[in-house]
Symmetry: C2
Subunit: 107 residues, 2 copies
DNA sequence: CAGAGGCATAACCATTCGGTTATGTGACGA
DNA sequence: TCGTCACATAACCGAATGGTTATGCCTCTG
């Protein structure tokens, strides 16, 4: 019984797939052809990755004629960030970093 | 050439392994035997997971006699949270959530 | 010093995964 | 209407992954 986090982490764990997602984040909505150019893999591979990203709710698709436009769904990342930041001790560590930074700035 | 994020995401993408890490976060330092009890897999499997977690700098080990104590290294999660929060649009989405929340509280 | 405890490693196996090429399907243009 | 374009799906393949059992290596203890 894979939960939310499983799917999220698994989906993002592949570099090619994460690359596609990042590109959608940075450059906005894209067609499959546009994404394939620069993905470094074949079009069917890109389609499969998009299918998995969609299954993880990380992207949404919009069909328009014979093109399919994909866009990133950043809301899906929330559980990931929450998972990390809610682990006891995460912010402690970050505050230590901040303290170090302030100390260095003080010198 | 796998980068920081690759290793992090890949390491955290397995539920068993992430479970071990979470437990180290919540319950603090543990021996391998303690972790094996409740991991749902054999001791060698746990050892292998710990090896990968260590390789990702997510845990540190401390040998003491014939026991090996592992503890979580939360600092290693920083790149993951930074990756997500630095994607353009991530905070926008969160602010929308906040807005919704405030609206609901207002009623 | 012998035996047992705690852990890591080796060797192996089934499954999953990410990629490919080939093909199907619906929409567009001549 | 026919050929082409954009994309999805099918079928397949090698490599990686996560698990197992067996075993080795220290370390503690009687």
């Amino acid at each position: 019984m894979p939960n939310d986090h499983d799917i999220l982490f698994k989906t993002l764990s592949d570099p090619t797939r994460r690359g596609i997602f990042e590109r959608l984040c940075r450059e906005g909505e894209q067609t499959v052809a546009a994404l394939t150019a620069g993905a470094g893999v074949s079009q069917p591979a890109v389609s499969k990755h998009l299918g998995l990203l969609k299954q993880a709710s990380l992207v949404r698709d919009r069909r328009q004629g014979r093109e399919t436009h994909y866009r990133a769904e950043l809301a899906a990342l929330t559980p990931l960030v929450d998972w990390a930041t809610q682990l006891p001790g995460f912010w402690r560590n970050r505050f230590d970093d901040l303290e170090d930074l302030l100390k260095r700035m003080d010198q």
